[in-house]
Each structure stands twice: as structure tokens, then as C-alpha cells.
Amino acid sequence: MKLIRLLTLALAALTLALPAAAQQGDGPLRIEITEGVIEPLPFAIPTFEAENEAAQEWAQRITQVVADDLTGTGLFRQIPRDAFIENVTEFSPNVQYANWKAINAQALITGAVSVTPDGQLNVKFRLFDVFSERPLGDGLQFGGTTNSWRRIAHKVADAVYSRITGESGYFDSRVVFVSERGPKNDRLKRLAVMDYDGANLQYLTDGADLVLAPRFSPDGERVLYTSYETGFPQIYELNVGTVTRTPLPVPAEAMSFAPRYAPDGRTIIFSLAQGGNTDIYRLRPGAGQPERLTTAPSIETAPSFSPDGSQIVFESDRSGTPQLYVMPASGGEAQRISFGPGRYGTPVWSPRGDLIAFTKQNAGRFHIGVMRTDGSEERLLTASFLDEGPTWAPNGRVLMFTRETAGAAGEPALYSVDISGRNLRRVPTDGAASDPAWSPLLP
């Protein structure tokens, strides 16, 4: 007997009809993210069993990260361990469902951790649907070095999230962004990269030059960004592993900025400003000159590819105010898709292809919003003095963006919000931060 316990209710049908694929599931324990979860799903996660002495500390840390990943989505609520009727001390396919039912744990996550003397970590986990009294999926294990313990924990959480929501996860991912220091009129900006949750921070540039708006390649190994290293804004490509960079081969007398990769990971689209006119260009480094995709005398910037590579959404003020347009990837006639009041900018196509996220400025406020790719069903998810520059989580269900406070002491910070407008939270960073770009899910 399957009991379907959706946590949620209502709302969605009114706001955003999502693809049917997102609504179908085969397991009884299920969260429909798109329907706007009102009541987070309670789960129990006993500290993972340490299979040997050396694994003790790792087991605790890994369990904590798994729990934090899940609760951080706003979709799950961890039941405190002191409420447990029994603890799980042995990693076994058999559990006493009644004991978990009694404390209203709908999901139970158990795990075991072992470490070899040479630092190999092995993590096993199982997920149980308590009320259906059955495992949800098979037991699974992940291995790696102790250095990658956070990634292993994120992979466990991704698997749990994925089994319960039917969506792919996003915890095992990184964010490249601009770390900021100093007063507003003398900001020092450095490229930095960190795990999606703020851990493992690493600086990629030294702050000597103004840097802006990094963007990950589809494989997560390279980053495009704009630097004033020469005194003029120019696009560079940086290898994240080796932290070496090369300038994009574009005319030095023009300003180049707002780069993004095509889904093929090789083609790059960007803006080139020359003689007071900014247009969008396409370049395949090593394969000829930049190709001009727009020719209007207006500003065309902030291009972003559709995930199938066939179209480009961008921002243009050809109508008099900045609005969003979609054109074929090879250029050509563009269709305006934004028609609401206010100004629209920095459109970003969802990795799922279903939505476009954008920045909207209206009546003195800034918003992060989403709309369908034809511009319909616009929804604003946030509002503040200054919100801008959304970037999609790899599963297309969460956005991260820059929120800057007003005034002489105003500072930017990174925030995330899910596409139902819920779970707005500040992403922990070491000081002020802006221009986040989310990596794909790591392999």
C-alpha cells in the first residue's frame, strides 16, 4: 500500500506550471519542489556508524554536512537526536520503523564510514521511507580520499535529495565569485571559488586588478571573467586547477566584457563595446575572428545560451529601456520577451531549459525573477535595494545572486532563493561578495 505524502500544497498551479517530468515519481516519499513546500519534511539522521576507530571523526563531520545540505534547502527538517527512541548503531538494511514513525520521521538516513590507514574514505548510506516501511532506493557507497570528505558528504546528500524530490541534486558543486574588500569608492576585488555552501574558499586573483563577473565553463574546469589588468576591461579565461589565465583574442582597442560559454564549452559569447556602441559577439578561440551577432546602435549585452545551444537570450535597450530578447545562436532577428513595467537585465537560461532568470529594476527596487522562455508567467522572487545577477544551481531549482545594501557603508553579499521564492538565505562568505556563478554538478 503506497501512501503518497506530498508536503505541499496548492499554489503552484496558479503560478508556474512545470514540465510533467518533474511531477512524476515512483516512490511514495516525495517532495514536489515546484509546488512550494510549506512544511519541511522531517528526517532522522543518526550519526553515521564509524566502522573503525579512525573513522570516528569523519563519521560525525560527514553526517553533519549531509544534514546541513538537506536542511539548507528549506525542504527538510532534521529531527533532533535527543528525540530518538532508538539509535542506529549498526548499518543494516533492517530498521524498526515503528520507532521512527513514533517521532514522525518520514525519512531515515543511515550510514557507515570507514577509513583505511592510507587515508581512503568510504561512506555507505541507506535511505528509508518510514511510513511506507521500506528502503527508498538501494544502499549506495562513495569512496575518496579524506581530503574530499565534504564532496563525499555532498554526494550522499545529493542522492537523498534526488530520491525524495525526483530532481537531480546540487550540493556537490562550486561557486566562483568576486570577493570584495574596502570602502565603496576604493573597492578591492578578487576572484574566489568555494563550495556551494561556502567551504573550501580559494582566491584565484590577488586583487591588484579590478575583476568582474566570472562564469564557469560547462565542465567546471575553466572560468571566464573580465579584468582591468591592462587598464581596460578585457576577458580572460582562467584554468581553475592550475590558476593560469590567458586573454581572449579580441581586438585590444575595444572593451570586452559579459562573457559566457556556449554549452559546447568552447564557443564564447560576450559583449564588445567600441565607439559608444555595445554589441554581442561570438568567438571560438583558435577558430577565426569574433563574429558579430547584433548590429543595432543600442546596447546589447549580458548574453546567455539556451542549454541546447540553439538560442541566445540577452539584454538590449533598443526599445528605449533595457529589455530581454531571444535570438538564434547565429544571430538574426530577435524577439522581445519582457513586457512588464521596469527594466530587465542579466538574463540567464536555466540549465533545464524551462525558465529564464533575470534582474528587474522597477519603482526604485531591484528584483530577481523568473519567466518562461517566451516571457510568459513572470514571477519576481526577491525584492531589495539592489538584487542582481542571478546564477542557476545545476538542477535549475535554486538561484544565487548578489544583494547589495544601500548607503555609504553598503556592501554586497551572496544570497540564494528557490524558484518558488522560498528559502531566501545568505550564503556564507569571508567578507563582502558579488557576482556568483554556479558550477555544474561535479563529476
Binding site: 569608492n185 579590478l210 566584457f257 565607439g275
Partner: protein
């Protein structure tokens, strides 16, 4: 980079350039910004204004002629006041042919980073084109946009925004780019 020598400064009340309003920035107000020091030299506030005496000096260009022009919200067209300032800048550049100039375009913080970069470039080019129309050789001028990255005034009100929507002509001797 916008620091230029401030030699030969005397206390002559010539009045600052058309676009420089009272110094509300003041020494110590929010850090000595690298890009902000040139216009408001130490002691420039208060009742006594100072200007460069040597009309061939960059300081004279900055302070007496005025090195910047301001723009209306979202606009890159030049006001009459801006044109008057640029005409004087052009004369100075023609009198002092050993100097080249980089024109920096800036925007206020209302607007996205990318759009403001493009808007700043438009403003810098509007100023550049005017200088060229007044006879300055295009080869002596370059433009760059900082978008909203380099405000000189840091409040979040129109009083500050109007000072930040600017094109600043930064002169330097030698080195043609």
C-alpha cells in the same frame, strides 16, 4: 592612476570647474580612494578654494577647466554645461599637444553591472566625440568604462548619483597608447 602632480597650487579663488560641487567627500571620509584624490586636494574644502596657476599643468586642467562632465539618469547626451567644459578641455589639449587623454565613463549604482559598463562606454565616447569635433586628434584619446565600479560619491541618493554619472578626462604626458 588618476593622480597627477599637484605642483604649483596656489590659493587663488578662481572657482572650480562647472561640475565640481562642494566637497562633501572631505579628507578621511571613507578612505583615500585611489581614484578620488586628484580632484579634491587636501585643504580643498571650506571657504578657500585653490587652483593651479600654471595653465599648462594637468592640475589646471583638472581643477580650473574641470576634468569631468555629468550626465542625466540613463543618458549619454551632453548637456550645454558639459559641452562648454569639453570645449575648454579641447582648447587645453590643443595648446598642450604633448598630452594624451583617457576618458573614463562612469555610471551610478542604479543598474546592472553589465548595462552600466556599456552605458559608461557610451558616455566616455560622447565626451570623446565632442573633443574630436572641437579639433582634438582622435589618436590622442582613448576611452574606458568603469560602469558602476568606481563611484566618487558613496551615498545612495541622487545627490551622490549625479556626481557619479560622469565622464572624466584624465590627461597624461607622453605615451600614446
Amino acid at each position: 592612476m588618476t593622480h597627477l602632480g599637484k605642483a604649483l597650487m596656489l590659493t587663488v579663488a578662481l572657482g572650480l570647474g562647472a561640475c565640481t560641487s562642494a566637497d562633501r567627500f572631505g579628507p578621511g571620509a571613507g578612505g583615500a580612494g585611489a581614484g578620488a584624490g586628484g580632484l579634491y586636494g587636501p585643504g580643498a574644502g571650506g571657504d578657500i578654494s585653490q587652483s593651479a596657476l600654471d595653465p599648462a599643468s594637468p592640475a589646471y586642467f583638472q581643477e580650473t577647466i574641470g576634468d569631468r562632465v555629468l550626465f542625466l539618469v540613463d543618458q549619454s547626451s551632453l548637456t550645454g554645461e558639459a559641452q562648454a567644459t569639453l570645449a575648454q578641455q579641447a582648447q587645453w589639449l590643443q595648446r598642450n599637444p604633448e598630452y594624451t587623454a583617457i576618458i573614463e565613463g562612469h555610471a551610478d549604482e542604479q543598474g546592472t553591472r553589465e548595462y552600466n559598463l556599456a552605458l559608461g562606454e557610451r558616455r566616455a565616447n560622447a565626451a570623446r566625440d565632442y573633443l574630436v569635433s572641437q579639433g582634438v586628434s582622435a589618436g590622442r584619446l582613448r576611452t574606458v568604462s568603469y560602469g558602476k565600479e568606481r563611484p566618487i560619491e558613496i551615498c545612495s541618493d541622487e545627490a551622490c548619483y549625479r556626481q557619479n554619472r560622469r565622464a572624466v578626462t584624465v590627461v597624461a604626458s607622453g605615451l600614446t597608447s
